[in-house]
Structure formats: C-alpha cells, structure tokens
Symmetry: C2
Subunit: 337 residues, 2 copies
C-alpha cells in the first residue's frame, strides 16, 4: 500500500463542456435532421451548406434549445426539428453576412463566398432559410412560427441598421446595443424560447428563457467584439481585425472614440472611414483600445449581461441543466480575457 | 339627325386589362398591407423596398391571388395579407436575383443593388422574406404556410440550379423546364393556390388553380426568354440581351444550339462561355435564333403552357373572373410576338 497524492481541484476556467455533455445525445438527433434536410437534388446546395454546417461551428443556438428543454424536463423530441430550423436560420445569416462583409475567412476556413462565389452563397442562404420555415411548419406550432418569423425579421432589420452605421463614427453605445440586440441576441432569445413553448411550460418560463437567451447573446457579441481586437487568426479561427477593416463601430471602438484625445479621435475617424487599414494601423488601434480601457470595459459590460442571463434562470430549481446554462453565460464573458 | 358610323369591334390583342379591372378594388387593400408592412424604423428598408415595390411592377402574383379568390366568390379579406406576402417573397427574390446577376436595370429603372449596393439588397431581401412569413403567421393557416414555405425552398433550389447551369451549353430542354418550373412557376402556382385554401373551396379547386398558376408561370417565363432577344431596353424596361451576356441557357438558345451547324454551335459555345458579349455578337445570336426558328418555337411552347393553364380552369363556371384569368394566359403568350 502506498500513499497517493490527491491533487486539489484546480480553479477551473468556465467552459461549454458541461453544456456540450448535457445535450450530446439530443444533439445527435438534431444533427440527423440537419443533415437530412440540407439535402437537395441540386448538388451545390448540400456541398455549400455542408461546408459551413459541418465546418466546426459550436452549434451554440441548437445547444441552447436542447438545454432549455432539458431544464424543463421536456420528454419529447419535437424540439429537434426546431433546433435544426434555428441552426438553418443562423447558417443562412452567416452566408449572407460573409457576402455583405466580403469576408474570406470564418472559423479558420475559407468562406463559402470565396470558394463558390457570392451568388451561390446568397441563394443557398435563401434555400436554408426557406427550409427552416418548412421544418417549423412540419412541427405545426403557430406560436413557434410567430417567434421565429419575428426573430428573422428583427435580425434582418438589425443587419441593415448595422450596414447603415458602418463607417459612421458617430454611432453611440445605445444604438449599438440596439443593433446587436437585433442581429445577434434575437436568435439566441428565440432559440431558448421555443423549448418552453413545445414543453407547454407557461408564459413565465417562456419569458425567463427568452431573457436568458437575449442577455447571453449580447454577452457573446460583446466578447466577440473584444476578441476581434485581442486575438489572432490562428487561435480564433476568424480573421483578427475584420471589424476594424470593415469600419464597424463595435462597442470597444465606440468607447475608445468617446474617451480619446483629439488626435485619437482623428485617427478613429480616418480608420472607421476606411483610410487606415494597415497592420500598423490595427496595432495602433489596439493600443488606443487598451489605453482607454475600452476593451476591459466592454468585457465588464459583457459581464453585466452575463449576470442578467444567469439571474433570468432564478425561477428554475437547481439541476445539471441549470448549471450548464449558468456556466455557458460565464463562458460567454470569460472567453474574451 | 345624322347617320353615324359604328366601327366594327377591332380584333383585340389579349391584355391584362380585364384582370386589372377585376381586382382593382381588392388591390387597394393589398397595397395598403404592402405599404404598411414594408415599414421599419431602419429608414433604408422602406426606401430600398419602396424603390422596387412602387417601381412599376405589374403585381402579377397578387393579382392572381385576388382573381382566384374572386373566381371562387370568396367574400372575405384574409387573402389581402397573403397576396402581400406573395409579393414580398417575389420582391425578395428580385432583389437577390439582381445581386446574383449583377443587373443594373430592371423595369427601365436602375436596380436597387446599383443604387444602394449589393449588401443592402441582400439584407433588405431577407427582411422582406421574413416579413412575408410574419404576414402568413398572422393569418394563421398552417396549410398556407406549408404551401408558401415549400414554394420558397423550391424557388431557391431552382435559382441555384440555374446558377449551376449558367454558361453550360450542354443544358437540355427538360432541365431548363425543371429550372423555370422551380424558379418562376412555383410562386405563380402558390399565389393561385392560397385563395382556394382560405375560401375552403376543396382540394379539387386547389389543384386546378395551382395547375393554372404553374402553367401560366411557365408561359410567362418562356415569353420573357423570347423578349430578352426580341426587344430593346426602351420598350421593355429591361436590358435586352441580359440573358445573352449572363450566359443563360434559356429555351431559345437551347433550341438554336441543338439545331445549329457546327459553326453555329461553336459560336454559342463561345457566347455562352462569356467570350462574345458585344452588340454585334448579340445581333448574330438573334439572327441564328430567327434562322433556326428557335424564337417562334419557344413561343409555340409557351402557347401550349398557356393552353394548359386555360384548360385547368375548365371546372369553374363561366364568369368575369374566369374570362380575366383566361385572357391573362393568352396575354402571357401574345406579349412575346
């Protein structure tokens, strides 16, 4: 017999592991629907859609639908189709976003528009969007259809508003929050809300989970905004400085611009206007973002939204599902460090 | 008292006048929905959508929805929202089509993508598409939702297939008919079918009107194909030779290629491949289309589909509505002369 050293539990960084484990089995069901329903006799459709759908995304939104159902103890499988519909809507918006932004890299891979061209990306996006509605119609809940058709209109509205605000240095924090509430958080909210609808868990549970999703979505978007200035293409699977080169007024830039000296503000006007897109300019931008604490304060804002997401779950008793959703909200913020 | 000469009734060309008159009053209701529901707090959305929606389109599809309801004696107004939804879907596909084709002119006006750019056209198209589904959800018929979500997926599939066939001189007549059945005729068919659904007119009426719409749509598309080689930008409000320069294998070209001499086929391979896009090339193409009777035979094919559309109405008793729908099918063909 020998003495063994039992290590102390390490202080663990928040991760999505608990969420992934929680929904792993259900996710197989969702993946089966996704693979089945992205098929078409037109070969280019599954080819292009598969590039993105099989391309290493987290499936964050379907995971939320599944975890919300698990939180409510929903025993059925109706939400598989709806989670797939949510992922199709998300994939359609990614395809169109990459066309709109002229992006060449997503999740470390070449974008569909770069490989197959903008026309194919636009049209396959339209196909996936239509297919999402077909899935919802098959499920047959008008309430779910209302939630997701409204979310889709709100997303498109937010995307157009973002386009309008692009290269506009005068964009304020409130307007920006409105934009990301629409373009990002609306689908997170809808993904979480469809489960209490099919589980018939009542209005209060619907509102609580919608509130969780909305705030989680904002937290994710704000930490994404930070990551775009704080990482590199290799580690994040996304071109660093994309937002900078696209002239996007994200929260870090809004804060740095508001807090900057006259010289700094002149730099931002130039940069957001599209006249400073070199790597040196990007480095200078990151320096300004750090000096004005714009990155740290954006993370702090994200943390507030993460907390609101967690608080929205207060009405639900402790469970593995609740822990996983709580940790997901912590992860949404912690990933930007 | 003086003798007056009473002229003989002139042999009248078929027109859409009877249809327009038939639905004029209902169309005011549809237009009110369209104008109301294309609004958004994001000003660019109604601005861009209005350019196309108010831009002199015939509103062919909503007219069909209204005329079909009139044929069935439907006394309600539910179909106003659905006709508006159909027009929104159509407008969304036009916006995306112009991006896909890089078009600069539609209905004699500059296209939205030329004025506001491709990104705005893509995103406003997405908005209108989502809004269409919101309108259908408000109406609340799952059957209508099934018809139109399926039609939308079929349209997108057809558009992708057309993209795949572009610049492919090997495209055959059957494949082409499949493409236009999807990209054009599916929405005509759906526009006609929603009315018997809300009128609860029964499966037989649904199938008859769907059949009418589908065949009418094909007739319209084939005559459009002829017009693209037979008219000029001034009279048709569309750039002549667009299909030619885009390398689209439409039926006239498919027939001319099949019937051509070796030299002619070499010309078509070059032209469809994108290496002959001058005005002289277009003139030569039109000469080949005439010499091989490809234009005349495309019109003849269109006439067959027009007849099938008219025959589909056989089950309905004679009425002003039936006459108007019949004349619309005659017009679809006659306009290509």
């Amino acid at each position: 017999m020998s003495a063994t050293l039992i290590p102390l539990a390490p202080t663990r960084e928040p991760s999505l592991d608990a969420l992934i484990t929680l929904v792993a089995s259900d996710m197989n069901g969702v993946n089966a629907v996704i693979l089945d329903r992205m098929q078409s006799k037109v070969a280019l459709i599954p080819e292009l859609a598969g590039h993105l759908i099989a391309g290493g995304g987290k499936r964050m939104r379907p995971m939320l639908t599944l975890a919300a159902a698990s939180l409510l103890g929903y025993p059925g499988t109706r939400h598989y189709k709806l989670a797939a519909a949510v992922e199709f809507i998300h994939t359609a918006t990614l395809l169109h976003d990459d066309v709109v932004d002229g992006s060449g890299l997503r999740r470390g891979k070449r974008t569909a528009n770069l490989i197959w061209g903008n026309p194919a990306s636009v049209l396959v996006g339209d196909f996936l969007f239509s297919r999402a509605f077909e899935l919802m119609v098959e499920d047959g809940s008008l309430k779910v259809l209302r939630i997701l058709s409204h979310a889709s209109a709100v997303i498109a509205e937010g995307e157009v508003e973002q386009l309008t605000a692009q290269r506009q240095v005068a964009t304020g924090e409130d307007q920006y929050l409105e934009i990301i509430s629409a373009k990002t958080a609306a689908l997170f909210a809808a993904a979480c809300r469809v489960s209490p609808v099919v589980a018939e868990a009542g209005e209060e549970a619907e509102h609580a989970l919608e509130c969780y999703g909305r705030n989680l979505g904002i937290a994710f978007q704000l930490s994404d905004d930070v990551i775009d200035y704080a990482s590199d293409a290799e580690t994040m699977g996304k071109g660093v400085g994309d937002d900078f080169r696209d002239g996007k007024m994200t929260l870090p830039v809004i804060l740095a611009y508001a807090r900057g000296s006259e010289a700094d503000r002149a730099f931002w006007r130039d940069a957001i206007g599209g006249n400073r897109i070199s790597d040196d300019d990007l480095k200078h931008a990151i320096r300004l973002l750090r000096d004005t604490e714009a990155l740290a304060d954006t993370i702090e804002r994200a943390r507030q939204y993460g907390r609101r997401a967690i608080d929205a779950l207060a009405m639900f008793p402790a469970s593995k599902s609740k822990s996983a959703l709580t940790e997901a909200a912590e992860f949404a913020v912690a990933r930007a460090y």
